[in-house]
């Protein structure tokens, strides 16, 4: 099995859900690596090694964002929320309030029915 973190029988899951699972697990792993590199770099007593660890941390951030972009393209709900919150101006909770009242979303997308791709749906 490619992952030990499935919570349901594989035969009950569509290919779409399996791919989303792969992406989410990958994102978790990349973010965990960022956290580990950050701590090691800060605790490290060798300047050169600290530079390498910080470089590696930044690479993991790039990887995480690439996976996140894949998730955004395949999940309308992620897409809407990313467009609402990422890069928004002002207090984050105020952005939520504005978005819920229909006035604050920075995206050109309106909240939809969440249909998206139906690949794998019978």
């Amino acid at each position: 099995m490619s992952s030990e973190t499935y919570h349901e029988s594989l035969e009950l899951l569509s290919e779409e859900t399996r791919n989303m699972h792969r992406a989410i697990v990958s994102l978790k792993e990349e973010l965990e690596a960022v956290d580990w590199y950050q701590q090691r770099a800060e605790a490290c007593s060798d300047e050169e090694l600290r530079g390498v660890l910080t470089h590696n941390k930044n690479e993991e951030i790039e990887h995480a964002m690439m996976v996140l972009e894949w998730i955004r393209r395949h999940s309308p709900v992620f897409d809407t929320n990313i467009k609402t919150y990422v890069g928004a101006q002002g207090p984050i909770l105020a952005v939520e309030k504005a978005a819920e009242s229909g006035g604050g979303a920075s995206s050109s997308a309106s909240p939809g029915l969440g249909i998206g791709s139906l690949r794998g749906v019978k």
């Binding site: 979303a105 997308a109 309106s110 909240p111 939809g112 029915l113 969440g114 249909i115 139906l118 690949r119």
Partner: protein
């Protein structure tokens, strides 16, 4: 407020929830194209066209020794289907009613799903969309009897393989064709199961908007692309004391990237049988 202007509608949160979820249920049931083609989006209202990567030369230059060409783009079509509902009926959702009359939602969702699928399978000239069936260069495979279906599907798979179009494949069937394969059997063995058993890499898709039979197409990816600007959403148009007018909307276009990836299975019209 965004383009849908939902916050202006005299609908409670509970009513919106029932309207949205019923529309989503019917759309997911009826939409067939999205089950077999690649999907790009949603990109939002601001996406007006898809870059085709092509140039269209401007004929007859201006005599200044400079050649000019326009970038060829495919515009998105904006769909908007209105429907009316009784406000008093919708208000009952907040009183706990779970049996609201949502027939107008069901009807509009079917209408819009069929419109999207008709464009995907049969094309929509005014929207500059070429459909999967009309784009196929392969000669349609004629089916003049119900029991001819299994052999025709085998022949269709062979056509695609010979053209270098590998599987998996989807057999997308119109209403009549789907019913025939579901209801009829050969020597006590249902036609649909016979096909599935001999060709496990062929899946079946119910497509009520597809006319004239069915189409076998490769679902390996990279052959067909549905681009969505604003994905299917319900917006608010107007209301009076008793009724509210809503609409189901989306913006999209569809491109055939590999014409050879499908073959039409043409069922003879009823009158000709």
């Amino acid at each position: 407020m965004d383009l849908l202007k939902r916050s202006k509608a005299p609908l409670t949160d509970e009513a919106w929830e029932q309207v949205d979820s019923e529309a989503a249920r019917v759309l997911k049931l009826h939409l067939a194209g999205r089950k077999v083609v690649d999907f790009s989006g949603p990109h939002g209202w601001k996406l007006g066209a898809v870059n085709t990567g092509r140039l269209k030369p401007i004929e007859g230059g201006r005599g200044d020794g400079v050649a000019n060409a326009l970038r060829a783009v495919q515009p998105l079509v904006e769909v908007r289907a209105p429907f009316k509902m009784r406000i008093a009926e919708l208000d009952d959702a907040s009183r706990g009613a779970e049996d609201l009359d949502l027939d107008p939602v069901i009807a509009v969702a079917e209408r819009v799903a069929h419109a999207e699928d008709a464009a995907i399978f049969h094309g929509y000239k005014e929207a500059q969309i070429t459909g999967i069936i009309e784009a196929s260069p392969h000669k349609p495979i004629a089916i003049d009897a119900i029991l001819a279906w299994p052999r025709a599907v085998v022949a269709a798979v062979e056509v695609l393989r010979a053209a270098g179009m590998n599987g998996p494949y989807a057999l997308v069937l119109g209403l009549q064709a789907y019913d025939e394969l579901d209801a009829y059997s050969e020597e006590g063995y249902p036609l649909r199961r016979r096909i599935q058993q001999s060709m496990p890499d062929v899946s079946f898709v119910w497509a009520p908007a597809l006319k004239g039979g069915g189409v076998l197409l490769s679902t390996r990816g990279g052959d067909y692309e549905l681009t969505i600007g604003q994905d299917l959403s319900i917006g608010y148009a107007a209301h009076d004391r008793t009724d509210v007018e809503l609409y189901l909307t989306e913006s999209f276009t569809f491109r055939v990237l590999e014409e050879k990836a499908s073959v039409f299975l043409k069922r003879a019209p009823a009158a000709a049988r």
